[in-house]
Symmetry: C2
Subunit: 465 residues, 2 copies
């Protein structure tokens, strides 16, 4: 396979020797290990790092960064590997620092509703370790992503409509800078006006400003009652209008997800469910028993008024789990619609008042397309995805997917939305950065990058072209 990325110098042998002596078998030059760290869930061509270090502490990360800096070698942090925009592809080579062994929950402060974790802790792991505390961590991007990676991409997912994104749910972090210095940002106070918001600066910086080696996240009391529901609609429009009314009325719904008819049919096949193959909303309500009932009644009325059919409840934990597992498997279910295909993802997010219009126009694109396209998403936030199923080796299909993605992004930006609600820029969305933010704001981003990483060694080639 041709390398689609520009050539780069090899890892200096002297650096490899130093790292090898220092870290022993946790430093790997093996092709298999490198390949494993050089491809993500996206259609972007793989790009293996020159070497992989399995770090076990903040101090080790700092040491590796300092060594790489001496040799002007790029450093790329790696979490669960579930990125979809090429975030950790080593397009300029360099050392991949795998953080999965830094997977310890450092402290659970149940009384303060927060926990401090190492970056390799995954969201499911954290929730398992919270078992028995009466608390949970709500941010749920579907994949069992690492919390460090989720912070680095400003992830969100199904619960964000109620609990916010990683932006709202990280109190403070430990970060290794490009010069190898270790800093702490934020703290454990719930709010602070003490200086520049470094925490938010590193959240969403995709490893380009620093490497997150510890983070303190907010926790929430487990709701007294949880109730889930599924409702099919005669049209995507009717489903989306139900969402819009729910949000505008201020119903504190915890999850409100749209799956189009094609996605439902894929889910039925993949997850052995028997859902009505029509545009469908999945709901979840959290609160006291009375509050959940109140929310659910109100939303059911709204849905009925717009033609919602077969409102079905899932209150038993196992039924709820099955439902949300099916939702989380939607991406993989869709992949099965075209055996051997890869998924070209989209991720726009628009103000809620424009959501119906945005999805309607996008459905016209889908109707005209020659490739299968499923649509689903976190519609309570105005965020939806398409999965465009393509053969990456077929340039016509790639071009068609690119064209549709372009059209959807342009539509979202014209509606004051964003090209990426939660996936991040990576390498896939760079071409939209100026269109979304303007040259001036992107120049400010460049100035920040230059101030913190003057040699451009931290995950180079990501976010900023």
């Amino acid at each position: 396979m041709n390398d689609p990325y520009p050539p780069h110098p090899p890892l200096p042998a002297v650096l490899a020797d130093v790292l090898s002596v220092r870290f022993g078998s946790r430093f790997s030059l093996s092709q298999a290990v490198r390949d494993q760290h050089g491809r993500d869930e996206s259609v972007h061509p793989a790009a293996a790092p020159d070497a992989v270090l399995f770090a076990e502490s903040t101090a080790e990360v700092a040491e590796a960064v300092r060594l790489c800096r001496e040799h002007k070698v790029p450093v790329i942090p790696f979490g669960a590997g579930s990125a979809v925009e090429g975030h950790f592809l080593a397009i300029h080579g360099g050392l991949c620092i795998d953080l999965t062994r830094m997977n310890r929950v450092v402290a659970i402060h149940a009384e303060d509703l927060d926990a401090t974790v190492q970056p390799g802790v995954t969201r499911k792991q954290l929730n398992a370790e919270l078992h028995g505390t009466g608390l949970f961590f709500p941010i749920d991007p579907g994949a069992d992503a690492s919390l460090g990676g989720m912070a680095a991409t400003r992830a969100s997912g199904t619960n964000a409509v109620r609990y916010g994104t990683m932006r709202e749910n990280v109190l403070g972090m430990t970060v290794v800078l490009a010069n190898g210095r270790i800093i702490r940002t934020g703290g454990r106070a719930k709010k602070s006006s003490a200086g520049y918001d470094l925490t938010r600066l590193f959240i969403g910086s995709e490893g380009t400003l620093g490497i997150i080696t510890e983070l303190t996240v907010r926790l929430y009391p487990l709701p007294e009652a949880i109730s889930s529901a599924v409702c099919a609609f005669p049209s995507v429009d009717a489903a989306v209008n139900t969402v819009i009314q729910t949000i505008q009325l201020g119903v504190p719904v915890a999850r409100i997800e749209l799956l189009d008819a094609l996605t439902i049919s894929a889910v039925n096949r993949y997850s052995k469910t028997h859902l009505h193959e029509a545009p469908t909303l999945f709901f979840e309500f959290h609160g006291s028993a009375a509050s959940v009932e109140e929310q659910a009644t109100l939303v059911q009325e709204l849905a009925a008024g717009l033609g919602g059919m077969n409102f079905e409840w899932a209150t038993r934990p196992e039924d709820r789990s099955r439902l949300w597992q099916a939702r989380h498997d939607a991406y993989f279910a869709c992949l099965q619609l075209k055996p051997g295909a890869r998924a070209f993802p989209t991720d726009v997010c628009v103000p809620i008042s424009r959501l119906a219009e945005c999805i309607r126009a996008t459905n016209d694109d889908i109707a005209r397309a020659s490739i299968p396209i499923a649509l689903f998403g976190h519609v309570g936030d105005g965020n939806f995805h398409m999965v465009l199923l393509i053969d990456p080796a077929n340039p016509l299909e790639v071009a068609e997917a690119e064209k549709i993605n372009h059209a959807v992004v342009e539509r979202a930006l014209a509606m004051e939305g964003t090209c990426t609600g939660e996936h991040g820029i990576g390498i896939g969305k760079q071409k939209f950065l100026v269109a979304e933010h303007g040259e001036g704001a992107v120049d400010v981003m460049r100035a920040l990058k230059h101030a913190l990483d003057p040699d451009n060694l931290l995950n180079p080639g990501k976010i900023l072209p």
Copy 2:
């Protein structure tokens, strides 16, 4: 009066001439106007700017910044003038840009729950203009501050325990940079992963990185039901433990404020209320009628279990207004405890589990002090203030206040808290910045400042020493 700040060169006559010709009577060199823009609500000695410009548009702000830059003259933005840490004192001279004439609500997008405003719009003005939309803007720092100033200091106040701070409630901004360039940050989508979070970088930057000339803020549906209550306690400890239990149970209380006995007695005199002169909590509950009743019942039970007395309800809007007006007047009420005194403010915020311990130790400081000290605050967030009443001309009183403030800040930092929950750093809290964040993080702040304002012309001498 001796000038406590270092001397600085005068405004270049040629710049004054250019500004005068360009802006006519909206450019002022009058001593009265300058003085008015050179003192805030704090004990910090006044420092008048060399001139004041009443700007009327983003383009005018950008033009003035460019002109000042040519002459290396500092620029200081000015909103409602309600800062308490010397934020806008012109300690290095320069041009004050008064933004109060930029007070137009640009757009209300009721269907998207957001509004775009100019920076001089105050929170009360915005809520007045929202009348009839069924929406409100919750952030309420007490003073009728301007929204631009509130964003610049990352303000919060009484409703933050439920609705968050300015950090969570600004979607996007227009900012004039040090080089006069105008940028847009963020957008109107509820979430985005598109690049560095410039919006959060400028929030809390106190005019040192850019001048906010427009902002889009989140709005919320007016709650169907609102209920307020007052409850006196046998001790501050009992009151604080009620707060801690309320937060740990996840009750979505909208406001939960502590006023100590001295504050209540000051409030009774100033606001003609007849509150029991004991440590007291003020509550407010928002939600559906059933949810408000449920929250209130639960909190009343918690309070009763800790010795809360005379739980009194205020459900009529006029009674609620009177109650919260009394709370907002607490600062001014306390000033009357010692005629002619100025208030030396404190503003620590700690993890909720440490709040009782922090306030208990602080009350020991208060008991030993020779000056009157009132304590109140936004205890649901772990944030509280003391008002230390001093004669700024009396060095012994100033020294005592400084010493107590130091002790409280050190205590809060030892508890993983912050030296300022909502007031900001200004000039008053700079000495704590390194103790709170560490040299490394403060160096990153310096690097950001240097990257965006290399000549140190935007509100110089604030935040960073």
